[in-house]
Each structure stands twice: as structure tokens, then as C-alpha cells.
């Protein structure tokens, strides 16, 4: 909402405050002023000029040489290129030295050899938005009325000596979608009076109801008022009205249309003007549309209607879509003489639905949607009749054609001052409360310790006690509210075990050298299941903005790889990222996808790079595996985790494993497939993804101290020749099983596959640790235990070297 202060002054006295002060007060007490716009934009030396003569420029087809009087006896030559400039016009002249919006400075100049002492201006050149400039002047200079005095201030004359407040209205404050509504608000803030327009006009003996029949056949339209005005002379509106409209961001058209728009802005009540003769039937019938019924609206678009769209008809066919837009068939034209003014109350939900479906949102529909003031519908019609008489020479027929079943009683709210103070944590006196409610012009009575309030119907947002709490508080001043902390709490608070462990996991992964990444949950359908631990039914958006963000992900890996690729493309030598986030799988009973928190890791490039020390390690599988093992150990799960070679689309078939917790699959780890690496322009890259939820909800082993060993351990080494395909993990399992309780640790310390081995064979060396916490082991005991291990290994076909 754009509020011209010149216009606002018609209803409320704002003297004593600068525009900025006023804006600050309005903002602090309820309605945010987004901008304070000085319409003169610091312009100077812009005056009225009289075009004494116009001649064609001798050397330029499109230019005219004008002699312009810019003050008594002060005639200057000005070159003008506007197509509509002519002798005898009063125009706007920017004199040399003038500054115009956009940093333009006017100087004396020669144009194709002819001297020019200034510029004849269009409204756009004075900073008026092109879309609100009247069509007649849209492509040329603006022409002033004949009585304008040359040399006088032109800005005053075109209404640019004005300041506009741009209000950022929240949906509840639809009352401020009108100048009167803003006036009430400002009056309440400043403790001043509201001056309503005086509505008075004469009528003919002819009665409106004799020339117009009205029927309302839909409950969505509880109030319909029509005025009939004859002998209207279609013309330009007076300048003041045009300037108010332009300041409000509305383009002037002709007096009838302008009057409806003026009242829309003044009262917040949308009006519509029909050409009475074009209606043809002398009848208005409001009803729901027939399915598939058509209407051509004012913007020359044919609209298909549905059975729930409310329409105004002439009894035969639609002439307007109620509250949204008029029809071309009944439009007011320059030949119109008799006008029907519609002022109605249409249900907000109905208008909202229709305007959304049709894709037409107008100043009118916006106001109906939020609910217009029931008590301003008929006065707005009266105001229209008055202005049509005053400004368009119309003769108003007596009476209002009316169907009125609208409940116009104000909302009653009963609230106790104690409740208000309790909610606010304040001690505002009853007198102060009453004073505020009076300033708001709320009807209030204090009785039996209660405030009985009838809120005016323009304030449709006032319905319950809490609304009164807000009204009191905002006008008393939010700065006055003290600062306290909530009392009485028997909740201890704190992280849940899951949340605490998640923080541990984050700390661990970061300590291990990974940066935390955050990527988007929405991805393309193609990527949504890639690398997924388990692919299930996907969740797709009904109306995605792009295919790239159309489906919820089932793995964190694709976006992490994109991030890695992004970094590598920017010359990052080492990328190590992790992300914790949800994946979206199938459906729960609630008809929502099952959201499972996962953690994923990607490592590419150099892992260790201490070049001057000659130390370089590139990313590899075992770095990622080592990080996971560390995490499992941190969570006390290391003895319940196992790995098994597997294949995953997009991963290297020889470097991929599934990860199991107590035999349940909880993750994958692997090297990126060479083809994928090529696609993403990555070198050796390794990823892992774990079902974090499963990992963090698995209860780890209880942390109980075991005595620090007092007796020495003994180690024995074994080197085995194995088939290349035999996993070391299996051998470790065999060793563990065969070792007696004296065997406390098995460690791989060498793996060799080379020319010294037979083809298809490898050598793996293990170091076994034996000890007994109670005593020092004898050689014999260790030999016995070790023999059992060796025997078990031989039985499986391993060759002990």
C-alpha cells in the first residue's frame, strides 16, 4: 500500500511530524513502513512553461524548435523531440541547472546546431513510473491545464511535492489497505481525530429501482448495492484526483474508472462500473457460473468458468467475475452515458479461489480475499454517486438497488485488564487501557472488572482477548515490556542420548580431517536412488521448479560427490567432506516417507601432503575405512561390525564392501567407479555412507574399567600363503575362533603380492598377541595355544610359510 501524505492529510492532521518520524511511529506501533519516498526526489528548477511557438528543426526530422515562456517576459528556445508537443500548451520545463531523477543534470546545449535552454519533460523524466502515467502522455511530454502559470513550480502542480509511505502490510491488517484505514491507525498513534469525507449529493426524481432489477442467487454474495447515474460525461479526471491515483500506483483512465479506483483506495471497497446500456437487460443477477460458461474480461482474455465461480450476469450471460474483473461486454467506454456502480460484499474464500484459478489478482480481489468492511459497502456506493455527480456531471437516480443479508454487527470481545497484564508481564493501568482503546475508536465499556469491547468492523482482525492484548501493547509501546525469564520449570533439559552421540560423531569425523558439508535434500529423479543403501519408493514433488530438484534423495553421496567435483574444479588438491542428513524412503503409516538419518563421507585427492618431508599419501579405500573403524570404536561397536565385499552401481566392483552391524546391513564403502570418476572429473575417490540412525541407536558396550595388565604379553607371528581372492578378514576370524582365551589380539602386519609369489597367490602376515591378566605365561602355554591356531589354519588349506 502506497500512502500519499498529501492525500492522508485530508483525513488526519499530521503536522508536527516529519515523514520519517511518522514512518518510525507507524512501524513501531504495528505496520511496517518499508520505504519513505520523496516524490520530488530533490528536483529543482522545474517550472511551468508556455509553448509560444513550435517550428520544425531545420536539420532534424524528429526535433522541434520551441519558444517557451518560463516566466513573465522570459522566453527561451528549447529543442523538444516529443511527438505531442505543440504551440499553445502549458508544459513542464526543466531549466538549465535543474537536477532530475537518475542523476540527470540539465545544461544549455546545442542540438544539431540549434541552441536549447532546458528540457520539456515527460512525467517519466520526473521519476513517475511509466505504468501509472495516463495513456495519453505515456509516450510524450505531459501537458498541464491551461490555467497553469508560467514560471511557477511545476512539481507542485503535478503532485510531486509529496511524500509516499510504502506500507508492508501483513495479511491481518487489511484495514490499512485504504486511506481511511491508515488515517484511523495514524490518528490512534498520534491521539488525533479522523475527518471522514462528507458525502452529500442531489438525486433525480427517477428511482434507481425502477430502471434496474437486482437478484442475488448465491450465498457467497450477502450484500450487493447498485447506484445508477445518468448523463455522465466521460472525460479526464481533475488533476488532483489523477495525482492521488498515480501516487498510489494506479494509472488514471477516465473520470468514471478513476472514481471507482479512488474510492477503492479511499474506502478499501472495490467498486465496479457497468455501462448501463451495454447491460441491455436492465437487470443484474448474481449467481454461480455454469460449468464451462465463458466470459471475455476487460483485458480481452476469454475465461472459462467453473461452477463454483461467482459471476455477475445481466440475467442471460456473465458481465463480470465477481470481485475479480469486469467483462468487456459491459465496459464503460467514452460513449457511455448511464453508469451502474456496483458496491458489494463477496466472500473472501470464493474470490480467493476464483482469482487463483484464473490467475488474476487485482487490487479488488486482494481486498475481497482479506474481507472488506461490511459497514463501508453502502457508504462507498454513496461516495461514488457523489463523485460521479461532482466530477462527471452525472445525475444520480434516487435510492440504492440493494440486496442486503450481511451481518454488520461488530465483534464483541470481553477481556479483563488482569488478563492483559498477565499475558504481557506488565502493570498497565485501567485508565491507560481505556485511553488506548478510545484512540483506536473501539467501543469500550468497563464493568465488573471487565472490558466489554465492540471492535469496529473495519478491524476484522480483532476477535479474541489476545487481539486486545496486542492492541494495548503495541500502542502502549513494546519497549515498555520488561525483560524476565520464564518461572517455574521442573524440566532438566539436555540432549537426548541420540543427539549427544551425533555430536560425538561430528566431533570425531572433523577430528579425523573431514569438513562438514550441507547439501540439498531435493535432487533429480535420476540421482535420487544412486548409491542408496536400500532403494525404496521415491518421494516426488507435485510441481517441481526444475527436474534437478524434483525428488527427495535416498543417498547423501551424489550431492557430496558434486561438492567434491566443484572443489576439484577450483583446484582444491584435497577434498574430504562428510554430511549428516536425512534420506527419504518409501512410506510410513502416516503417508509420509520414512526419514532415516545417514552420514556420508567422500575423500579425494591428497590425504597427506608434507612435501618437504617427502610424505605424500593419496586418498584410498583404507583411509575411509580407518575413519569408519575409528567411529565405530568411539561408539563401542567395533566388535559388532563386519565388512563383506559387494557391488554397488557407480562404485568400483573390486573396491566395494557392505558394512554390517550385528549382521544387519548399515552401510557401504567403496572406491568410485572409473567411469563415474571421469564423469565428475575426479581422481581416485572413495565414499562411504552409513545409516547413522542405526549406528547411534545401537547400544554400545557398557564402559567398565578392566585392570591394566600387570603381566607381559607374548607375540607370535604367522605368515600364510593364500589364494589372492581369500579375504584377510576370514583368516582373522579363523584365528580368533581357534585361539584360546589367551589370544587377545590379531593384527595384519604385512601383505605381499608380487613376483616372489606364485601367480594368483599372496602372502599375508599376522601378529598374534597372547597374555593372561593373572600371571606370566610360560613358553609352553603359548606354544600350545599357537599350535591350535596353526592347526586350524592348515585345515582350511592355508599354507604356513
Amino acid at each position: 500500500m502506497l500512502v500519499s501524505l498529501n492525500w492522508l492529510k485530508q483525513y488526519v492532521d499530521i503536522h508536527g511530524f516529519t515523514a520519517e518520524e511518522l514512518a518510525e511511529k507507524i512501524t513501531r506501533s504495528g505496520i511496517e513502513v518499508d520505504a519513505v519516498i520523496d516524490r520530488s526526489q530533490g528536483m529543482t528548477n522545474v517550472v511551468v512553461g508556455y509553448v509560444v511557438s513550435k517550428e520544425k528543426h531545420p536539420d532534424a526530422d524528429k526535433l522541434n524548435v520551441c519558444q517557451v515562456e518560463v516566466g513573465e517576459g522570459d522566453v527561451r528556445q528549447i529543442i523538444c523531440g516529443a511527438p505531442n508537443v505543440d504551440a499553445g500548451q502549458k508544459v513542464i520545463v526543466a531549466l538549465p541547472g535543474a537536477r532530475l531523477p537518475g542523476g540527470i543534470k540539465i545544461k544549455k546545449a546545442k542540438m544539431r546546431g540549434q541552441e536549447s535552454n532546458g528540457m520539456i519533460c515527460s512525467l517519466q523524466e520526473l521519476g513517475v513510473e511509466g505504468r501509472v502515467v495516463p495513456k495519453a502522455y505515456a509516450d510524450g511530454i505531459y501537458v498541464l491545464p491551461e490555467d497553469a502559470v508560467p514560471g511557477s513550480d511545476a512539481l507542485e502542480l503535478v503532485g510531486l511535492r509529496d511524500t509516499v509511505l510504502e506500507l508492508g502490510l501483513t495479511p491481518n491488517r487489511s484495514d490499512a489497505l485504504s486511506m481511511l484505514g491508515v488515517a484511523y491507525e495514524v490518528a490512534a498513534i498520534l491521539s488525533r481525530e479522523v475527518k471522514l469525507p462528507e458525502v452529500k449529493y442531489e438525486t433525480t426524481y427517477e428511482k434507481a429501482e425502477d430502471v434496474l432489477n437486482l437478484r442475488v442467487e448465491a450465498k457467497e454474495n450477502p450484500l450487493y448495492a447498485a447506484k445508477v447515474v445518468k448523463n455522465v460525461k466521460i472525460a479526464q479526471s481533475p488533476l488532483w484526483l489523477q495525482h492521488y491515483l498515480m501516487a498510489a500506483g494506479v494509472r488514471p483512465h477516465n473520470n468514471v474508472i478513476d472514481i471507482t479506483n479512488y474510492i477503492l483506495m479511499e474506502y478499501g471497497q472495490p467498486l465496479h462500473a457497468f455501462d448501463y446500456d451495454a447491460l441491455k437487460t436492465k437487470e443484474i443477477v448474481v449467481r454461480l457460473a455454469h460449468e464451462g460458461e465463458k466470459i471475455v474480461t476487460l483485458d480481452d482474455q476469454e475465461r472459462n468458468l467453473k461452477a463454483h465461480n461467482l459471476v455477475i450476469t445481466n440475467g442471460i450471460e456473465p458481465v463480470a467475475i465477481a470481485g475479480v474483473m469486469g467483462g468487456a461486454n459491459s465496459e464503460v467506454t467514452e460513449n457511455t452515458t448511464t453508469v451502474v456502480i456496483e458496491s458489494a460484499y463477496f466472500e473472501g474464500l470464493s474470490v480467493r479461489r476464483t482469482s487463483k484459478e484464473i490467475g488474476l489478482r487485482s487490487d479488488a480481489s486482494a481486498r475481497f480475499e482479506k474481507g472488506v468492511d461490511p459497514n463501508r459497502v453502502i457508504p462507498a456506493a454513496e461516495r461514488a454517486a457523489q463523485l460521479l455527480a461532482e466530477l462527471a456531471g452525472g445525475e444520480v437516480l434516487e435510492g440504492t438497488v440493494l440486496v442486503d443479508e450481511l451481518d454488520k454487527t461488530p465483534a464483541r470481545v470481553v477481556v479483563s485488564p488482569d488478563f492483559i497484564n498477565a499475558r504481557l508481564g506488565m502493570k498497565i493501568s485501567l485508565e491507560d487501557m481505556l485511553s488506548i482503546l478510545n484512540r483506536l475508536q473501539f467501543d469500550v465499556e468497563a464493568a465488573n472488572g471487565l472490558l466489554i469491547i465492540d471492535a469496529p468492523t473495519r478491524r476484522q482482525d480483532i476477535k479474541i482477548e489476545e487481539d486486545i492484548v496486542e492492541e494495548i501493547a503495541r500502542l502502549y509501546g513494546y519497549d515498555e515490556i520488561p525483560m524476565t525469564l520464564p518461572e517455574g520449570n521442573d524440566q532438566v533439559g539436555g540432549l537426548t542420548p541420540y543427539q549427544a552421540k551425533r555430536r560425538v560423531a561430528r566431533n570425531f569425523l572433523e577430528g579425523a580431517g573431514l569438513y562438514q558439508a550441507v547439501t540439498y535434500s531435493l535432487t533429480s529423479e535420476e540421482l535420487s536412488q544412486k548409491y542408496a543403501l536400500k532403494a525404496e519408493e521415491t518421494t516426488k514433488l507435485l510441481m517441481p521448479m526444475s527436474e534437478e530438484r524434483s525428488t527427495l534423495r535416498q543417498s547423501l553421496v551424489p550431492h557430496l560427490l558434486e561438492s567434491a567435483s566443484y572443489n576439484v574444479a577450483r583446484n582444491a588438491e584435497s577434498v574430504a567432506l562428510y554430511e549428516i542428513g536425512s534420506v527419504f524412503l518409501g512410506k510410513t503409516a502416516e503417508d509420509l516417507p520414512y526419514e532415516e538419518e545417514h552420514v556420508a563421507v567422500v575423500v579425494t585427492g591428497k590425504w597427506v601432503d608434507n612435501a618437504w618431508l617427502g610424505e605424500k599419501v593419496n586418498a584410498d579405500f583404507f583411509i575411509v575405512k580407518g575413519i569408519l573403524e575409528g567411529l565405530f570404536e568411539k561408539l563401542g561397536l567395533q566388535n559388532r561390525i563386519s565388512y563383506a565385499k559387494s557391488t554397488v552401481d557407480g562404485l568400483h566392483p573390486g573396491q566395494t564392501a557392505d558394512i554390517f552391524l550385528d549382521g544387519e546391513k548399515v552401510g557401504i564403502i567403496g572406491g568410485l567407479h572409473p567411469v563415474e570418476r571421469k564423469n565428475l572429473d575426479l581422481k581416485d575417490t572413495f565414499i562411504a555412507e552409513l545409516n547413522l540412525k542405526a549406528i547411534l541407536t545401537a547400544t554400545g558396550e557398557e564402559l567398565v574399567y578392566t585392570p591394566v595388565p600387570r603381566f607381559p604379553a607374548m607375540t607370535r607371528d604367522i605368515a600364510l600363503e593364500l589364494d589372492r581372492a581369500v579375504p584377510a578378514g576370514e583368516i582373522i576370524d579363523i584365528i580368533r575362533k581357534a585361539g584360546t582365551k589367551l589370544l587377545k589380539g590379531v593384527n595384519v602386519f604385512d601383505v605381499y603380492e608380487g613376483e616372489k609369489m606364485a601367480p594368483g597367490k599372496k602372502s599375508v602376515a599376522f601378529s598374534l598377541t597372547y597374555f593372561d591378566p593373572e600371571r606370566t605365561l610360560t613358553d609352553e602355554e603359548v606354544v600350545n595355544a599357537h599350535e591350535k591356531v596353526l592347526k586350524a589354519l592348515v585345515e582350511t588349506g592355508a599354507e604356513v610359510r
Binding site: 479474541i464 487481539d467 513494546y478 572443489n567 562428510y578 526419514e595
Partner: protein, 345 residues
């Protein structure tokens, strides 16, 4: 004999002096003081001397022996010190060379902001509640006093999955779910999480972002409690000198509703380009829980009241760290992420 002894002493001392390492010194020791050395020989020959000469010579031999031993030991000490000096020199390094890098990563700046806020509220006895990112229309809108067709739904452009399910547009549905689960019991929670709006991604808009919601419900929860709580939050995030101010606003799920400004941390409130010359920066929306919201979740709005607030983590991070483009949070450029490694004042 006496002369012979003196000569031996001279010889020994000269050799000690000349020895350049411990081995040579040892040779000298063995040669002169050893069991087969000349001094021992001389002592053996003492029997041939007269009883008067014997003690005299004995004393003399001992003196010589002592003298040679002392010199020998002094020389050993010097040579040992020399050896250590040599070792030290050989082992000395260029201490200005860079250290062996310890590889570490760090939290994402959004997590950093969220955890800081979490920690503040944990210290005030709050719990952290979490909820699904795909929500039912009911929890995201209806339970928050936003029935279907409500004009305020336009304030948030929504990604729908079906007519009834959607990507949550705020973390407020966690409030609704928590209230439903707590069945009329008092509540103190904050709810961080991802939210989604139909926006084209640019420097100031992101279709996915992070919000942190706070909710307190109990007996006699007042607007002053909201103000005090948010004041503590502003001070924690932006510094002890910060002040807050409330401005009236509108959210369907709170009444009264407020926007909260914090005094500018850059200029202290005098006006600069961060606060657009106003001295204040809008940081969050808040209000007293709307009675409809309480009642819908089964709370008696006459007995209990509450406050709620919602903060954008990106906004806080952008203000706090001067980040100029919201997309930085989602491109995961290491040059960006690694800046949030260190502690801050």
C-alpha cells in the same frame, strides 16, 4: 729410578694431552697404568730398594700414578663433552621449517550457529525436539491456525508432495507434534532443522534453509519472558552489549506477534551499511502462542500460555560472519568451509 719415574710421568702426560678421542686415551691408560704397564713394573722392582728408600719411592710412585690418573680423567671429561657437542651440531635442525600438518576438518557454519543456540537453550533447561522434513499439511499449517484457503498461506510458497503432504515450510510443525505428544504438559523446546520454500536460489534466497524454532508453554508464561529470553539469545549470538526491540507483526500461530530487531553489531547502533543506517537489524519473528494453536493441541488456553520464536540460521550466520551470499552455505567450497575452523571472540 726416581728419574725414570719422572720421565714416565712426562711421557704419559704428553700422550694424554695428544689423545684426540676416547679410544686413544684408553690406550694411554692401559699402557701406563695397566697391570703390565711400566709403573706397575717399577712398583714390582721396589723390593730391591733399601728399607729407607722404599717408603719414599712408594710415595713418589703413588703421586705419579695419581697425577696421571687425574689428567686422564680430566681429559676424558673434555673429550666426552666434545663428542656431545658434535652430536648436537649434527642433530640440529631448521626450526623455521613448517610442522607436519595435522589433518582436521570442522563444523559447517550453520551447524556452528545452531549448536551455539542449542547450547544456550540447553543451559536454560530446554530440550531439543526434531521432526520430519516431509510433513502433513495438518501439522505445517492447519494445527498452526492456518486452515486451507487462509490468505496468510501465501506468505510461504510451498512444495507440495500430494494435496495433504508437503516439504515443511518452517520448523513450527515440530511444535504442533510436540504439543500433541505432551498432552497438556508444560514444554520447553527448541527445534532446529531444514525447511523448504518455493524460491529461486539467488544471493538472498534459497529453496532450502535452516530454521530454529523455540517453544515454551507453561503456567503464566508472559510476553516479558519472551523478551527476556530473546535478549539473552541476542547477547549470546551478537555480544553482551546488544539490545533488542520488538515491533508488532503478524503470524497466524501467535498473538500478539512481533518482529525482533537487534542493535547493529557492526556500528553499535549508530547506523552503517550493515543495518542500512537504522542501527537495528531484524533477526527473527516471535509471539505468544495463539489460543487456537493451544486448543487444537489439547491445551487449555485459559490455564496455560506460551511463547514461540523462529530464527533463520543462515540469516544469523550471514550477519555474524558477514557472509554475502546464501548459496555459499550449500556449495561446500572448502575455501569457505575451512574459514569456520577457529574459535571466535
Amino acid at each position: 729410578m726416581e728419574q725414570q719415574l719422572k720421565q714416565l710421568e712426562q711421557e704419559a702426560l704428553a700422550k694424554i694431552e695428544a689423545a684426540s678421542n676416547l679410544k686413544e686415551l684408553n690406550d694411554v691408560r692401559v699402557a701406563y697404568l695397566g697391570k703390565k704397564g711400566p709403573i706397575t713394573d717399577l712398583l714390582k722392582g721396589m723390593g730391591k730398594l733399601s728399607p729407607e728408600e722404599r717408603p719414599k719411592m712408594g710415595a713418589l710412585v703413588n703421586t705419579v700414578r695419581e697425577n696421571v690418573t687425574n689428567q686422564l680423567e680430566a681429559r676424558i671429561t673434555i673429550l666426552e663433552e666434545q663428542a656431545i657437542q658434535e652430536q648436537l651440531e649434527k642433530e640440529s635442525i631448521d626450526v623455521t621449517l613448517p610442522g607436519r600438518k595435522i589433518r582436521t576438518g570442522n563444523r559447517h557454519p550453520l551447524t556452528r550457529v545452531i549448536e551455539e543456540i542449542e547450547d544456550l537453550f540447553l543451559s536454560m533447561g530446554y530440550e531439543i525436539a526434531e521432526g520430519p522434513e516431509v510433513e502433513k499439511d495438518y501439522y505445517n499449517f492447519e494445527a498452526l491456525n492456518l486452515p486451507k484457503g487462509h490468505p496468510a498461506r501465501d506468505m510461504q510458497d510451498t512444495f507440495y508432495i500430494t494435496e495433504e503432504t508437503l516439504l515443511r515450510t518452517h520448523t513450527s510443525p515440530v511444535q504442533a507434534r510436540t504439543m500433541e505428544a505432551k498432552k497438556g504438559e508444560p514444554i520447553r523446546i527448541i527445534c532446529p532443522g531444514k525447511v523448504f520454500r518455493r524460491d529461486n536460489d539467488d544471493a538472498t534466497h534459497s529453496h532450502q534453509f535452516m530454521q530454529i524454532e523455540g517453544l515454551v508453554i507453561g503456567e503464566n508464561i508472559r510476553m516479558s519472558d519472551l523478551k527476556g529470553t530473546l535478549d539473552a539469545l541476542a547477547k549470546r549470538m551478537f555480544g553482551e552489549e546488544r539490545e533488542i526491540r520488538l515491533r508488532p507483526s503478524f503470524f497466524p500461530f501467535t498473538e500478539p506477534s512481533v518482529e525482533v530487531d537487534v542493535s547493529c553489531h557492526k556500528c553499535g547502533g549508530t547506523g552503517c551499511n550493515v543495518c542500512k543506517q537504522t542501527g537495528w537489524i531484524e533477526i527473527l519473528g516471535a509471539g505468544m502462542v495463539h489460543p487456537n494453536v493451544l486448543e487444537m493441541a489439547g491445551y487449555d488456553s485459559k490455564k496455560l500460555s506460551g511463547f514461540a520464536f523462529g530464527i533463520g540460521a543462515e540469516r544469523i550466520a550471514m550477519l555474524k560472519y558477514g557472509v554475502d551470499d546464501i548459496r555459499h552455505f550449500y556449495t561446500n567450497d572448502i575455501r569457505f568451509l575451512s574459514q569456520f575452523h577457529r574459535t571466535e571472540e
